[in-house]
Structures are given as C-alpha cells and as structure tokens.
Assembly symmetry: C2
Homo-oligomer: 462 residues x 2
C-alpha cells in the first residue's frame, strides 16, 4: 500500500502540515493504528493523522478537509467495537489524545467540563480528592469524546444511566468548521431542539466532539460488591429480573456465563466456581446498602444462588471489577492468535431470560467459542465470539448466529445494540430496527453534512 508521503502534493496534507507541523503524521505505523479499533473489523488507514490540541485547531482541520471534500474521522483511544474509526474512504483522522485537559470541576453542582481526549480513568483520577466520581465505565479506558460519540455505557448504567443521561452539553465542530456549543449546565432545559442528545451516539458522522460537560456523582457513603454463583443460567437471569422489577436500586448487576467465568479464572488467576455467576455492587448509605443486600440475598437464595462472596474493601472491589472489565481480554487469551468479535443486544427485561437462553442454545449447537457477559440489569448482554477472522467458514457461522441473536432481540422489542453502536458492523440491522426512521436519520445527516465528509460510511449510507 502506498503511503501518503509518496503521493505528490496532496493539498490537504500540505495545508495540514502548514497548520500542525510535526503534529501531522503520515507514517505507516501511525496511520495503521488509527485505521482500526479493537474489533475484528478490517482496518482502513486514513491518509494522515492530525494530532489536534484545541477546538479551534479541529475547526481549522475540518475547514481544510471540507474545502477539499476529504473525509474526517475523529479518533479517541481506538477502543470501539464496530469498526467506527476505519477510514473507509481515506481522509484525515483527528486524534484527540492531546486534548486531555479537565477544564473545570463544579463540585457544588456535580458537573465538570473536559476536553474530548480525557479518558474515563483519567477523569476519576483527577476527581480523586473531591469526593465525586464519574460512573460510566465501558471495559476499556476510553476517551470521553469517544464514549460520547458512541453513547457508551457499562456496568453502572443500571443505576446511573448511560452517556445519554450523563452528558449535559457539548462543544462540537460541524462539517463546515463551525464551532457550536449545545446544552448547558442546568439540570434540565426546554430550550429548543436537543442537539446534545442528537450528537451523543452520532459516531462522528455529524460533527467532531471537542468538549463535554458531564454529570458527576458523590461517592456513596457505603459500597459493597459481591459475587454469587448459580446452578443454572436461568436462576441467575431470573434473579436479575426480580431485582429490577422490585425496584431495588442496585448500582451494578452483571451476568457472566460459565464459559466467561472460566476465561476470567484463567486470565486473572481467580478460582471462582465455573458456573453462571452474578457480580453485584450496592451503593448508598450504610443502612440503605444493608437493606439492598438483604433483599437481593433473599431473591438469589430462592433462585438457586450460592452464598455471596463479599468484597467490602475498596481494593477487593477493584480487583473484582477489574476481573469483570478484563472479560474481553480474557476471552482473546482463551485462543492464542484469535480475535474477539463482541456483539451486543438489549431487550426488555421480561424477555431477557428467553433471549439469553435461546442464544446460549444456538452457541451450544454451533462449534463456536462465545462467552456471554452482560449488563443484565438493563436487559443488555454481549456475546464475544473468539474467532479466527481468516477462516471464512467459521466467520460465516458466527455471522449467522449473530444475525439470529439480533433478529431475536428485535422481535422481542429490543435493539440491535445496547451500547457498542452501529459503526459498520450493525448497519444492516438499523433498517430492520428503525424502518422509515432511518430515512429521517439520512435527511439529518445530509442537512448537517451535505458533502458526506464526517466519518462517511458509518450508521447510514447517504
């Protein structure tokens, strides 16, 4: 593959080099790295990578690209899972990693403003002495810009919501280089169209997010985590359903099937029972947590749950949740050389047991290795195919199984993706899920990006 250096006088590269100097890279390695995410989806390197340092600089980059009708792909940490950052039609990757300042923390108002390149762990580190935290935690230490763009969630969403509920406002560079500010710091507003929520989850196809105003939360007085193994997957799932339906405000309630528990034990040297397992976390006052624990314990006991293994100390809880967050990497380690294809769906909670159990039967009838793990309090679960992308037959079987899982979720009133996004990987399901509404998405895309330069080929084809 020819590198951009060998192309004579690419006017976009020339103009960006003048603007950014050494902060524009056309090296093969840098381009390759920015052309793929953590998924099995094939990479497409951009023509160059621009390391922007400010909103104004992003605006200048976009203006240059707009002038030359060259694609613009925003890049955070490259930890997305549906091919979001692949430069399908070439173009310029805007790397936001140098935009990593926490701009302000308003402790009294429980909010903060960050540049797009700040990662979730960096933010929580920064908040360390304030008594506040930011709860949204996809497995990876993703950038908050990327998490906003993909409407990320994670284990805490059952209590604290997703990026949809926790982004108060944005600074965004639109396709013509205009800089807009959406939303604000008020907790609610009825002032005009909700551009903030339109842009959250737009995956870089409507604009480049450069700053985010986020909700924060006080660290609860008391937190306890627990692990509880079940004889059957059904018992575990029904425990989740009963907990949610009764309205117990659990902070986290995660399901890992026995295949996933085995992977975690091997990867992180745990010795959990190799059984379907729930990971819980409870937040509140001392008395409130005690009450939640008691109620959930009763439910789990009735449904075949073993005694709870408790983690009360912060370091025990960290270890437990790190094990959960490492699930993706633990799965890849199960089969050296393999890649993971993580697909997620989300269904109404009353259908969760059916959806998981039918999917589990599908897996058992296939020869595929595919642990199940999920943020089941939301009705959201993941299948991680551990797979050889170079084996077309295996890929075809996985694709067929994934298709069945997604169509099953849609038939149950669910969605084709609870938190990973559409990217390129789920585009074929968007029409099945949203029908005529996809036409409206396309109208909005064309209105705001008539040249189709913002991350083209993702979410909707125009």
């Amino acid at each position: 593959m020819a590198t951009a250096q060998t192309r004579p006088k690419d006017p976009v590269v020339e103009a960006l080099r003048t603007l950014l100097g050494e902060r524009l890279s056309t090296s093969s390695a840098v381009r390759e790295q920015h052309g793929h995410d953590e998924s099995y989806h094939p990479g497409h390197p951009p023509d160059a990578v621009a390391f922007a340092e400010s909103t104004e600089e992003v605006a200048e980059i976009v203006k240059i690209c707009a002038h030359h009708e060259r694609p613009v792909i925003a890049f955070g940490t490259g930890t997305s899972l549906e091919g979001h950052v692949a430069a399908l039609h070439g173009g310029i990757s805007i790397d936001t990693s140098r935009m990593n300042q926490v701009i302000e923390v308003n402790s009294e108002d429980l909010d903060c403003r960050v540049e797009a390149g700040v990662t979730r762990k960096q933010l929580n580190q920064y908040l360390h002495d304030t008594g506040l935290f930011f709860p949204i935690d996809p497995g990876a230490d993703a950038s908050l810009g990327g998490m906003t763009a993909t409407r990320a969630s994670g284990t805490n969403a059952v209590r604290y919501g997703t990026m949809r509920e926790n982004v108060l406002g944005l600074t965004v560079v639109m396709a013509d280089g205009r800089i807009i500010r959406t939303g604000g710091r008020a907790r609610k507003s009825a002032a005009g169209y909700d551009l903030t929520r339109l842009l959250v989850g737009s995956e870089g196809t409507l604009g480049v997010i450069t700053e985010i105003q986020l909700r924060l939360y006080g660290i609860p007085e008391a937190m306890s985590a627990a692990v509880c193994a079940f004889e059957s997957l059904e018992g575990a799932v029904n425990t989740v359903i009963a907990t949610i339906q009764i309205g117990i405000p659990v902070a986290r309630i995660e399901l890992l099937d026995e295949v996933q528990m085995d992977a975690i034990n091997r990867y992180a040297k745990f010795d959990y029972p190799v059984l379907p397992t729930l990971f819980f976390e409870f937040h509140g006052t001392e008395r409130g947590v005690a009450e939640q624990v008691e109620m959930v314990g009763e439910i789990a006991g009735e449904l075949g749950g073993s005694d709870f293994q408790w983690a009360h100390k912060p370091e025990e809880r960290s270890k437990l949740w790190q094990a959960r967050h490492d699930a993706y990497y633990a799965n890849i380690a199960l089969r050296p050389g393999a890649k993971a294809w993580a697909s997620d769906v989300c269904v109404p909670i009353s259908r969760l047991a059916d959806c998981i159990l039918e999917t589990k039967r599908d897996i058992e009838e296939s020869d595929l290795l595919a642990p199940i793990v999920g943020h089941v309090g939301d009705g959201n679960f993941h299948l991680s195919f551990v797979i050889d992308p170079d084996d077309p037959a295996e890929m075809a079987r996985a694709e067929a199984l994934n298709d069945r899982m997604v169509m099953r979720a849609l038939a149950m009133g669910g969605t084709c993706t609870g938190e990973h996004g559409i990217g390129t990987g789920k585009m074929k399901f968007l029409q099945a899920e949203h029908g005529e509404a996809v036409g409206v998405m396309r109208q909005i895309k064309l209105a705001l990006d008539p040249g189709n330069i913002m991350n083209p080929g993702k979410i909707v084809q125009v």
Copy 2:
C-alpha cells in the same frame, strides 16, 4: 373576524371534511379555543380543527396540508404556557383528544404505550391497580403528547427526570405524512441517531407525535410528604442546595415564596404560615424514607426551618400537592380579571440562591405582583406575573423584569426555560442561550420540514 365557513371553497377544509366528516370543525368557538393556550400570549385561531382518531388519520391530514402548504398545529389540552398552539399563520389544528387509548402496559418491564391524547391523570388512573405510576406532573392535567412535545417536567423531576428521560420511543407523523417509529422498549440503545430525544421538546415543529412509549415506576413502599416554613427565603433555598449536594434522593422538593403561600391559602382555604416554604416528598422503603426524613430535617433545622408538618396518608398528601399544583390558578384568583404570565428559568444549583434572591429584589422594586414557585431541586423556578395584558405600561415593566431574570440565569450558566419551552414567548432568548447552535436547529427544521408547515413561527424562524 370572518369564520372559515364564509370563505368559499377552501380546498384544505373541503378535503378534510371529506376525510373526517363532522370531526372537522370550523366553528368560531372551537377555533378560538384551539388558538390559544393558558398563557397571556395572544391567541391566533386556526382555520379549522381536525379531531383525529388514529395515527393514519393524522398522516392523511398532514398529507393534505402538505399538498396545499397549509400549517399544521398539534393540540393536546391547550395548557402550554409560551403560546405554543397559536396558529400564527392560520392552518389546521389537529386535536388529539380522541386519541386517548392506553395501548399497552408492560408491568414486568415498567413501560407502557399510549396515544398522544391520553392525559397524565388518565394514565395514572388506568394504572391504579397495577402498583405502577407515571411520575411526570406539570401542574395541568396535560396530554402526554403535549408533555412530550414541550419536554415537560414538574415536581417529581428531581428524582424521576423529565419527559426527556422518560420517553422510550415515539410514533410521529412527519411533515410529508410519513409515519415513523423511533426508539423502542429497550432501556438503552446505541442504534443510530437519537430521534426520540430530538422530537421530545420539538413543540410540533418537526412532526406530530401520535404515540408515546413511556417508562413507569413501581409505587414506592413508603411515601411521606411534609411542609416546612422558613424565616428567610435564603434559608429555604440553602436547604434545597444542601439536600441535593449531599445526594439525598428526595422525590419532590418545592419552594413557594410568601406571596405564593398567601395565594394558596386564599385559594384553597389553607392556613399555612405566610413565609417562604418548602414542600417535600420522600419515596422509598420504610427505612429509607425514615433515613431521608432524618437527614433533611437536620439540614432544615440548621437553616431556620420550622418543624415539619407531615402528611403520611395518601389523602393528606394529595391535598398538599393539589395545593401546590393549583398555584397557577391561585395566582390568577389574587387579582380578578388578571392573567398569569408564568416564566421559568433553570440554573446550576450553586447559583440558585443568588438567582432567586436577585429576582426577588427586582420584584420588590417593581410594583408587580409576581409569586415565586419552583422545582428547586433541579435549580428550576417560576415567576408568575399576575398581570393585565391590556395595560402596556405594566406589560413593559414585566417584560423588562423577565428579560433581566432570563439574562441573569444565562449568565449563571442556566437556561431560558427549564420546562415551559420556547413557543413564541422565549424565541428571543434562544439565540442568546445557544448562539451558533440555533443555526443547526434551523438546518434540521428545514431538512425535515422544507415547506415550514409544522407549527411555523415557534422555536426558530426559518
């Protein structure tokens, strides 16, 4: 004013009469009633009122209007407050009051689907035996379609969120008559642009909402309400701020100033102290409520709050909250023949005391009668000018005071409206609040409604 009947052969009216028969009205009284809301804003009657009975019928009406480039204004209960339903350029009012079916209640999933004309009280009546409730409660018994269109909230928003957080999906008739379904029943989704939230709060300018999928909540095991008077407004507001900052999950925390308390006493024959007062409600388990009560009691006591007057029984609580909900009507009753001009702003909670106290000083320095009441847990408060709209000097003074309050809220990082919406009344502030982003709103409006037939003249001018 000429009635539509006297106009020879209005082709839209003729076509709609063929479609709807007697469910199309051109009578003066019906048109007048549909041309104004509950505010002081001048009414503009539509050319005719169509009483639709189904989504498909709304689509047919919109297609006829689109063909003739005639405005379409959706009408729920007419209880909006910023001139939302005025037919500024004539056109057809689509009255949704006959679309009043609760389509489904999914108790296990805590959601339901309703037609747009179902009112909030009707829904809660319907849910009576299910153990579930829908919490969003603007003062009026508004239609859920109208509440969605204006992104309504109310007293429970501090705990349960606004319509933004509680609408899961929609059926909408777009400007060309297409019927789309947005969102779904899953608790979260990362599948494409969030059209649901774009349409929530779009005030009928992008489409007519015909069905709404809503979140429901289990009725808490324990509920207690209380009234607490304060020597100073500052003490009351600071009690709110401390309560929110500590993270006590109050269900309701409402402020009424002494002028408002006086109005309520007179209107509903109460004998509350004529002092700045907080109305509280606590939801949870028996133990959880007891704990919240204890914590809030301590805070209020330190800040000059009197002993709490408790309402534990459902009928006592209903009476207390009815008094609060009647504030608007109580204010009008203070001055026979007057109208109320209710304006609302919302600020970050740390600025709430400053914003309310400065506004209060403004009121005291004017000769205006303007009680203050607010959903202060969100940083949201209302000013109700009790005013004679036919007195230009008085109106000018009120307008100047309102301008100052809104610009003060914006300077504090707040919004020009927390829950009433833009309509026509707040259009002049939208640019001040959102700047360049208003241009993006306009692009979206033009893309989805190129003929500008959907409630024209509201939110943005195109």
